[in-house]
């Protein structure tokens, strides 16, 4: 336990990276997932097919392989993140972080899309017809009527998807991001007699982040229920 307590700054900084990964990939995956679901339920057959194919391919690919692809294979095709050089305080966001965000975003967006699709299916057809009847085009029907209601209906599964994302950020440890799990490995290597305490400390860190997020999700859910 002392290994962590004596190095609290390293501990918090590592979880800082975890939180950054989660926030950036969480926002981007929600945006991408929303675009994907609009394509999937939209009137253009080509876009429907493209979105469905994307979901099938990405959802059936292990996350580690996504990471490996963007770390080792994509650079060969010229897709690299060397341009990313952002420094905020003591945090450095570089190519490794960029590859991790892209992997996590693409991977999570497929699940966001499917979660939202369940929400879209829960919106009664009459809502869509009423939106069409006042002259809203497809984009307006989706953004003004269907998606706001779909988000409300799909909030519990979407929260689960984002919680999975929080934990999935740990995969970035293997691909050069100094986030919590990477730091944990550093600790266990340096203080091998304290492994148990180190594991407990990092488990607690993840639990706190997930619980804080769950709390927000539950509150949002309750707020929306009052509004309806």
């Amino acid at each position: 336990m002392n290994a962590v307590l004596d190095n609290l700054d390293a501990y918090f900084k590592a979880f800082g990276y975890t939180i950054f990964l989660f926030l950036v990939a969480g926002v981007l995956s929600t945006l991408l997932g929303t675009v994907l679901v609009a394509m999937r339920v939209g009137p253009v057959a080509v876009l429907r097919g493209a979105a469905a194919t994307y979901v099938t391919v990405v959802r059936n690919t292990p996350l580690v392989i996504m990471f490996a692809f963007f770390s080792f294979a994509a650079p060969i095709f010229g897709i690299q993140f060397k341009w990313l050089q952002v420094h905020v305080g003591t945090f450095d966001f570089t190519a490794f972080f960029g590859a991790a965000v892209v992997s996590l975003t693409l991977y999570t967006s497929a699940f966001v899309c499917e979660g939202l699709r369940a929400g879209v299916n829960a919106v009664p057809l009459g809502q869509v017809e009423a939106a069409r009847a006042i002259g809203l085009p497809f984009g307006g029907v989706m953004s003004q009527v269907v998606l706001p209601q779909a988000f409300r209906a799909a909030l519990p599964p979407l929260a689960s998807v984002q919680i999975a994302l929080i934990k999935n950020t740990s995969v970035a440890a293997v691909f050069g991001v100094a986030e919590a799990t990477a730091q944990m490995r550093t600790f266990t290597n340096s203080f091998s007699s304290e492994r148990f305490g180190i594991f407990v400390c990092f488990a607690i860190g993840y639990i706190v982040i997930v619980e804080a997020f769950s709390f927000l999700a539950t509150r949002t859910e309750r707020h929306w229920r009052v509004a309806l």
């Binding site: 009137p43 009664p124 009459g126 809502q127 017809e129 009423a130 939106a131 069409r132 009847a133 006042i134 002259g135 809203l136 085009p137 307006g140 003004q144 009527v145 706001p148 209601q149 409300r152 509004a227 309806l228």
Partner: protein, 247 residues
Amino acid sequence: MTGAPLVVLDHVDKWFGDLHVLQDINLTVDRGEVVVVIGPSGSGKSTLCRAINRLEVIQQGSITLDGQPLPAEGKELANLRAEVGMVFQSFNLFAHKTILENVTLGPIKVRGIKKEAAETRARELLDRVGVGHQAAKYPAQLSGGQQQRVAIARALAMEPKVMLFDEPTSALDPEMISEVLEVMVDLAKRGMTMVVVTHEMGFARTAADRVVFMADGAIVEENTPDEFFTNPQSDRAKDFLGKILKH
């Protein structure tokens, strides 16, 4: 153009699978005219109503609105729908928006009217249908009759050329039916062009210029309400009226 009919259905046919739900429908609605469509369940009257703003796609024939054929898809279709008000049996108010937002959504997003102007107009309309004091509430907090009156205000906010009513009182408790019908009668008096699918024979008698009787997907009889109710020509209409007017 003012003399030309507003809505023209010309040899319209539609099938649901093998079921021929609209059979060679010819119907003309003039400006300011109130046409009430009645008939037994499954006669195709709702489908007819919904075909006029292309919520149902027809397979043969043509429908024109103000001289323009219905566009197939996309922006043009959306623009046409903005000109056609629609009131549904199940109200279909936007559940996540307040009453006021329900009425202002179309004017703001489709017509591009400023929020303040849209709200002023929406409040006038809500007052007119008698639910002005409910503007800040959500649809689920209103009674069915109130929701349907909001739905009428929502459609009117688009200043439509014609209003379609698809069984607007069929989902309402009896005591709420009259409050909705009053709004509709008032609308008819103000000269709105209306196509009304309904089982309310009282409304047909007082407000309709013409009654269209449908059975099995076809228009069987068309007449003034007086003539139709006192002197129906077809056996099908006699049978229908006999069943509903008996009680």
